[in-house]
Amino acid sequence: MDEMLLSNAEIVLADQTMTGGIKITDGKITDIEEGPSSGIDLEGDYLIPGLIDLHTDNLERHYQPRAGVYWDPVNAVIAHDAQVIGSGITTVFDSLTIGVSRGSDQRMAMMGPLCEALAVADSANMVKADHRLHLRCEVNYPHIVQAVDDYLEHPLLSMMSLMDHAPGDRQVPDIEVWRRFHLKLFDMNEAALDRYQEELIQHSKTLSPHHRRKLGEIALAKKLPLASHDDATSAHVEEAADLAAVITEFPTTKTAATRARELDLKVLMGAPNLIRGQSHGGNVAAGDLAMSGLLDILSSDYIPSSMLPAAFRLTEPPFEMNLNDAIRTVTLEPAKAAGLDDRGEIAIGKHADLVRVKLVEGRPLIGAVWQRGVRVA
């Protein structure tokens, strides 16, 4: 039996904080005790559950560290893992894009090698965090259902999300903004862009509703938590609820977030959005949703180190959440939404996925990270 004691910590439980220690046996929390105890002295630092990140694009960035430079996919997974675990994230849903829209054909090409590398790195114990595969499905892609089918047996598949990046809707409601972005980014003239725009809008009209239903059925049959991406209207959220989605990811308006709350979908927003005080795409600010009590979950989106500071930011003005509620947005809430009932809080019987946090000049610094009771950072 492998036993470890941590003492003299400010232990952040799901609904209260207490000074004391915990006992870990074989990777699980087996005791929580208030007051003085023996063991590794955490010197009054916070002890919080390991963070659970439901949506990060960070792995793709390591696979292509510079435009045109592809890294060995297994090494990319290891580099990504080091960054994630050092950011206090002990369970990470690596989101990979499946289905082509302009500019994401490169991302689609990353799918195969990265999925394989994730499985290899995980089975050989090369990674420290618990990695899961989150399939981001572009529903206006004509062959999306078939494409998803290739990954349904992936050992780490744990979540699906549905997105539609057709212009004039959702993430980019203003077609002119979409056009400017595409003209700038791709070698396309106006006429080619016209054709492309028309094709996407057409596919979105004719194919997306059917694809959403099919993929929703697949998620349900496979018992995979389903998220809807960039919901902008009440109707978007209602459609997601009909598919038994449990999360609305990055809703772009307060209207959508409000409807999600009514329909019992969890609202997930990006931690970078909260830190920066605005969305990089000009949509609703995570902070505004937090002020209205409509923010349930924060994900790192594209900056792993953003999650912990974002949770602490929620305890400061103007939000002034209590620490337990704030930490839940990056631990227990994502765990519950993803159907992981063995982690996400410091409680007896849960995995000993833990982070020691010291506040230096109000900034949370990570002192140590344990995964299943083993120190990994």
């Binding site: 560290p65 510079r66 045109g68 430079v69 890294w71 060995d72 297994v74 090494n75 290891i78 580099a79 080091a82 960054q83 675990i85 050092g86 950011s87 050989a124 114990n125 090369m126 700038k184 980014l185 791709f186 070698d187 970078p272 830190i275 920066r276 990089h280 594209y302 900056i303 792993p304 180190s305 953003s306 500071p309 230096v360 000049e361 900034r363 610094l365 990570i366 140590a368 120190r375 950072a377």
Partner: protein, 380 residues
């Protein structure tokens, strides 16, 4: 750093051998290498993993990348500094020279902003004691830039500046010997017309004529009396090396040809190449391969350049592909860059050296960092 740390059951990579045994550390300093067979009290059993010296990185642009994680996104500088530091520590890098660009051409204005921010946040984070790795500044001075001397002036007396390199990214020479590659790179996905590119090349050439020599001399004058190491960048010809040597420069960073590398060694300079170049089996801009230089003995140190984890991976690649011994390959990212950066207290596992250490397990061909200690204190 106080306290004692002991490791046992390790394969310790010293400067000239891989020794089985353990290590005793106290007050942040290596006290003793204990041979296999002798029991060490209260030691952490590392299960036969390798223990290497903490890596020393002479040139990384990773900090600047954290300031701008996406093209339209600026990240708070203090948060960027911590994110960068965490990435260094988890890649096994315990001493790092953060390269920041001094001098810019138009379209690079953000680099001036990054420069000021880098220096400020580094100072602040050091004062707050919030950094895991030991950070220093590497000022990369673009000599053909109109602004380089003005920008350098206020930095002369800032703390933490330890390495200064001269670079010149004018098209048609050094890194951009191949003018077509330069034009392709700056075509920016079709945003620049051919006429714009012509004008850009013209302007760069003009600026080089006006400024490059003048600024090199002006910077050298201002460097008199400073306790810093000098490096030249992207040397391509024997002439480049001779010029560098005459100026008191001791490091050739990323020479682009075997000829320049050989000349650098003849003149007693040391040579740094990018670890991504080792991993990818060639330079991303089509210049000399670092593996070839390692094979001909013209490689002293590696830098992670734009991929932090590449430094450690490159060590094992040099063993597998070039046939170096593990201690010799490890020296390229530890002992040798430490010496080139002017440190005698670190870079090897030996009694009296700083206990900057790295526990590494090889899984298949891939080295995984298990733990990192700086002065005996665990940082990753």
């Amino acid at each position: 750093m106080s306290g004692r740390l002991a490791l046992s059951n390790a394969r310790i990579v010293t400067a000239d051998a891989v020794e089985e045994g353990g290590l005793i550390i106290s007050d942040g300093v290596i006290q003793e290498i204990v041979p296999k067979g002798r029991v060490i009290d209260a030691a952490l059993d590392v299960g036969g993993d390798f223990v290497l010296p903490g890596l020393v990185e002479l040139h990384t642009d990773n900090l600047e990348r954290q300031f701008q994680p996406r093209p339209a996104v600026r990240w708070p500088p203090d948060a960027a500094m911590l994110a960068h530091d965490q990435q260094m520590a988890s890649a096994g890098i315990t001493t790092v020279f953060d390269a920041v660009a001094v001098g810019f051409h138009e379209g690079k204005e953000e680099r001036n902003e990054f420069l000021q921010r880098s220096i400020d946040v580094l100072e602040q984070a050091n004062e707050a004691g919030s950094l895991k790795a030991d950070h220093y500044l590497h000022l990369r001075c673009e000599v053909s830039s109109p602004h380089v001397v003005d920008m350098f002036e206020p930095l002369r007396d800032r703390g933490g500046v330890r390495l200064i390199s001269f670079m010149d990214h004018t098209p048609g020479q050094r890194q951009w010997r191949d003018l077509d590659k330069y034009r392709n790179f700056h075509r920016s996905g079709g945003r620049r017309s051919e006429a714009d590119l012509d004008a850009l090349v013209e302007k760069r050439l003009e600026e080089q004529k006006l400024y490059a020599d003048k600024h090199r001399r002006a910077l050298l004058e201002r460097l008199e009396g400073m306790d810093v190491t000098l490096a030249s960048h992207d040397d391509t010809t024997v002439g480049h090396i001779e010029e560098a040597v005459a100026e008191g420069i001791t490091i050739a960073e990323f020479p682009t040809t075997g000829e320049a590398a050989a000349a650098a060694h003849r003149h007693g300079m040391t040579i740094v190449m990018g670890a991504p170049n080792v991993i990818l089996g060639g330079s991303h801009s089509g210049n000399v391969s670092a593996l070839d230089l390692a094979g001909s003995g013209h490689l002293d140190a590696l830098s992670s350049d734009y991929v932090p984890v590449s430094l450690l991976h490159a060590v094992f690649r040099l063993v597998d592909r070039v046939g170096l011994t593990l201690p010799d390959a490890a020296a390229k990212v530890t002992k040798s860059p430490a010496a080139m950066g002017g440190f005698s207290d670190r870079g090897e596992i030996a009694p009296g050296k700083r206990a900057d250490l790295l526990r590494v397990r090889k899984v298949g061909d891939t080295p995984a960092v298990m733990s990192v200690w700086r002065e005996g204190e665990r940082i990753a």
